[in-house]
């Protein structure tokens, strides 16, 4: 039989291991791949991230290689930070904008050298990168379908790697290196906790899985899905594309794009490094102030408030929750929320979330107090400890 372009969702290189492990059979579509929503039980998976260690298949992530003489110029033209300040063997969390300063996507940029980078992100970015590179000496390669990746997250992740014979003791957060031929590890993740991401070629994927799985029992290793991870990222205060901001290339309606300033990421903008996409618009916005503010909030009660409208003085609608969960670790009802300026910025009091509660078929509406938070809800020193301990 001839090989056809696959119809429907495709399997990641780890699927042969995930499929038999999945009890929930709760699969999602992530960038065209079959991806786990829940593998077994959401609660088990969540607590495994916070107390043990977990494996999440991040192969569906888009990955692009930017290589050539002008690679540093091109990535600096793309993103808002100064990548000239990032050393080789480091990873940088990056944001990039359209000409109006609205966020196209965020992601992680891996620096091999000034001539060689890998960008990982949620959105398909090939044509944008090609156009960004026009006039420069670089090649852009889409590695999305060639690189398999696993996210190993949790307090015992370091210990597990040691048991698997992989030594990463001197890796600091955002370091990255080739630990063995063909296996790259970065100390990165989306949980705000200790964790690593492992990158290898597709044909090495299953061997890597088996090696980790073999060393994992002692450290409480679990395979997890997106839903548990999503709770953790909200606890860590990380925004997510499609939830807390609308990637502007997908937003059909005018005015749906948001700038890094509106998203609370002004510190990620380096106006001094020279021109980058959207710089002029952002400079103007830095002076006039953004139209919205994305903030971390604490909501009274324990009913998750995802999507809830937020009112000022219980009367004026001034925003809404973009991601809301009950945080099992902090035992708080937490969320990210978008406010129309100046609410959430200079006006922070007398804010209320509207919550609907269904009591066996009877709906009840409540206004619960909203408090603005400045720090991540979940923070733990172990996430930065080098070398990490068997926490």
């Amino acid at each position: 039989m001839s090989k056809h372009v696959p119809i429907g969702l495709i399997e990641t290189p780890f699927h042969p291991r995930l499929e038999p492990l999945s009890r929930a059979k709760k699969w999602m579509n992530w960038a065209g791949y079959i991806s786990a929503g829940v593998m077994d039980t959401l609660e088990f998976e969540y607590f495994a991230i916070r107390n043990q260690t977990t494996l999440f298949d991040i192969s569906p992530m888009h990955k692009y290689r930017i290589k050539g003489k002008d690679a540093l110029l091109v990535v600096n033209r793309l993103v808002t930070r100064d990548i000239g300040k990032i050393r080789d063997g480091r990873v940088s969390y990056v944001l990039w904008c359209d000409e109006d300063g609205n966020l196209i996507d965020d992601g992680t940029l891996f620096r091999y050298s000034a001539q060689d980078f890998r960008l990982c992100c949620q959105e398909s970015m090939l044509t944008w990168l090609i156009d960004t590179a026009w006039g420069f000496e670089v090649t852009i390669k889409d590695e999305s379908h060639n690189v398999a990746a696993l996210s190993l997250q949790g307090p015992t992740s370091y210990s597990l790697l040691s048991d698997a014979g992989i030594s990463v003791g001197d890796m600091k957060p955002f370091d990255w290196c080739e630990v063995e031929p063909g296996l790259w590890i970065s100390r990165t993740g989306f949980t705000g906790d200790l964790g690593y991401e492992l990158w290898t070629s597709n044909d090495q994927a299953l061997a890597l899985w088996d090696r980790l799985w073999g060393a994992g029992h002692h450290w409480g290793l679990r395979a997890i899905g997106f839903e548990a991870l999503n709770i953790c990222r909200i606890e860590a205060g990380f925004m997510a594309a499609g939830f807390d901001f609308q990637p502007v290339h997908h937003a059909v309606r005018l005015g749906r794009g948001r700038s890094p300033i509106a998203l609370g990421a002004s510190k990620m903008i380096d106006f001094k490094k020279g021109h980058f996409n959207g710089r002029r618009a952002l400079l103007t916005e830095a002076q006039t102030g953004p139209s919205h503010h994305l903030r971390k909030i604490d909501i009274g009660g324990f009913k998750p408030a995802d999507g809830a409208l937020i009112y000022y003085k219980k009367k004026h609608e001034v925003g809404h929750v973009t991601s809301g969960v009950w945080s099992p670790t902090t035992k708080r009802n937490i969320a990210l929320a978008e406010f129309k300026a100046p609410y959430g910025d200079t006006i922070k009091n007398d804010l209320w979330a509207e919550i609907y509660i269904n009591k066996e078929g009877q709906w009840d509406k409540r206004l619960v107090r909203v408090e603005i938070e400045n720090k991540p809800f979940f923070q733990n020193a172990r996430s930065r400890a080098t070398p990490p301990k068997p926490f």
């Binding site: 000409e99 156009d131 026009w134 005018l254 021109h275 996409n277 002029r280 618009a281």
Partner: protein, 531 residues
């Protein structure tokens, strides 16, 4: 005009203008008149760009590229004193004759057509009605030409900021004053095609052919393409008078040049700019091909938008801007054939001094559409549309020994000729031009002493105009007004602070008009970058 360098040129200028096309000179003069120190740098050894003379034989001067003046902007002329003793410019007004192979030519004078016997043309009433309506509508567009086009930057959320949309408000206001019926008609025809517009009322003849040809001269569009009523109105925007400058197009270059140097502008020729320097997102000066660096607070470019971007460096432009500029439509379609003739050719059926007129070869609107077809395939039109003039009949000052010049613009000659532009291809084009002219003036071939053929590609090489395009960029509805030269770049400001577009590629567009240059200078002043 040959401008001299100052003895002690200041090291830095308030503004540098790249290119001494008439627009660059208009920009320079406008800034200098407000007291700013301005330097114009021109790559060629003489000023004027597309509007100048070329000496084809000793003492015989032809208009090298542009040959007639019909769209000079009155505000520009007034502000720069064009036509005064300080910047003399004498204009000889010309009638138009639309030639017919049968000899039944049509004379169009002051918007009224007549036949060769001096009798009113059978379609005179209808023609006049159409012509007057278009001229009236064109006047509305003409008002827009001295204003910065309204901005839609940041999307519709900003349109409430009407300060910037003032130009549009004004035209909106005048539209209302026009009366409901006219207004409806204006909006109806604005984007429509000239072919249908004309043939709704007129027969397909040299009369409608001439207007169809005027609508698309310089465009990459046949008369059946949408937007060609707009391009005709653009042409008629400043009164629609066709004139011949005394002393040739060189006199126009000189007039603009004098307006500039009288106001204190320094003009340097043979000074090709290789690079625009940018520091902290601000244009700070230029570097010449020779390596010489000259500093200024603002830099204005008379070039096309992509070259202007490349001079500063693509790294200073947002990706969206580079996308738009890479895809900027500028495929020139006009070629120039200049002939030196031993005597005046005889045009069959052309009486009296009508040979002085602007001569149009476009015997029907359908002929014009057919002539357009080959350009799509990179081929030469075998039966081209021609606009010709024999300036030496009206102005003896540009010739000697009774020699004459026939200046011809051939429409729909491809920039990207299949097989490329070689001497053989130029020869073929010359032959096509002569053969076509022979249909109307059978004795012309024997009179030719010298011929100059400039393809769109040659015009690009000479002037740097993208694609050798008449307007430095197609006047399509996607590239005019708020979108000229491209979306978000329509305010003369061009990327880094202090960097501006000032040529035909900017609003309102090309023709020897001067408005783009003057508007750009006004924007520089308004932005306060020279303080």
């Amino acid at each position: 005009m040959q401008a001299k360098e100052n003895m002690m040129p200041p090291k830095t200028y308030d503004a540098i203008v790249i290119g001494a096309g008439h627009n660059g000179l208009a920009a320079a003069a406008t800034l200098a008149r407000k007291g700013h120190a301005v330097l114009v740098l021109e790559a060629q050894s003489s000023i004027g760009g597309m509007a100048k003379n070329v000496e084809l034989m000793k003492g015989v001067f032809a208009p090298e590229i542009a040959h007639l003046l019909y769209n000079i902007n009155p505000t520009v002329a007034r502000e720069l004193g064009l036509g005064t003793i300080f910047a003399p410019l004498d204009l000889i007004s010309l009638a138009t004759v639309s030639l017919s192979p049968s000899g039944d030519h049509v004379l169009i004078k002051d918007g009224t057509p007549q036949d060769m016997a001096g009798k009113s043309h059978p379609e005179a009433a209808k023609y006049t009605e159409i012509y007057q309506r278009l001229t009236k509508f064109a006047g509305l567009l003409g008002q827009m030409s001295t204003k910065t086009p309204p901005s839609l930057a940041g999307g519709i959320k900003d349109i409430t900021d009407l300060a910037q949309a003032a130009g549009l408000t004004k035209i909106g206001l005048n539209l209302k004053l026009m009366g409901k019926k006219d207004m409806r008609e204006f909006l109806r025809v604005l984007l429509s095609n000239i072919y249908d517009h004309l043939l709704d009322d007129l027969t397909d003849s040299p009369l409608s052919g001439a207007l169809a040809a005027d609508a698309v001269r310089g465009a990459y569009a046949g008369p059946r393409a949408p937007g060609t009523v707009f391009t005709l109105m653009y042409r008629l925007g400043n009164g629609a008078m066709v004139t011949l400058p005394k002393g040739g197009m060189g006199a126009v270059a000189d007039a603009f040049g004098k307006a500039a140097s009288n106001s204190g502008v320094t003009i340097r020729t043979d000074a090709k700019v290789a690079k625009v320097m940018v520091t902290d997102d601000r244009a700070t000066g230029v570097q010449l091909g020779s390596g010489e660096v000259i500093m200024a607070k603002a830099v204005l470019s008379n070039l096309g938008p992509k070259s202007t971007m490349m001079l500063a460096g693509v790294e200073h432009y947002d990706v969206e801007a580079t996308r738009r500029l890479r895809h900027h439509r500028a495929k020139g379609t006009t070629a120039k054939v200049n002939l030196v003739l031993s005597e005046v050719p005889e045009f069959t059926g052309l009486k009296g001094d009508l040979t002085h007129a602007r001569l149009i070869i476009a015997p029907s609107a359908t002929y014009v559409e057919r002539a357009f077809n080959p350009v799509k395939y990179g081929e030469l039109p075998q039966d081209p549309v021609i606009e010709a003039v024999i300036p030496t009949l009206s102005d003896a000052s540009i010739t000697t020994d009774g020699k004459h010049i026939l200046s011809a613009i051939l429409s729909f000659v491809p920039y990207n000729l299949k097989g490329g532009w070689s001497d053989a291809a130029r020869q073929e084009l010359r032959e096509i031009a002569i053969k076509t002219l022979e249909t109307y003036a059978p004795n012309i071939r024997a009179l030719i002493l010298e011929a100059q053929v400039l393809s769109p590609a040659d015009i690009e090489t000479l002037t740097g105009a993208p694609g050798g395009h008449w307007h430095h960029g197609e006047m399509g509805i996607d590239q005019v007004l708020t979108n000229r030269p491209a979306n978000q770049l329509a305010h003369y400001r061009f990327g880094p602070a202090g960097y501006y577009l000032c040529g035909a590629t900017a609003h309102p567009g090309g023709d020897v008009m001067g408005a783009a240059g003057r508007n750009a200078a006004m924007q520089v002043i308004k932005d306060g970058v020279l303080k």
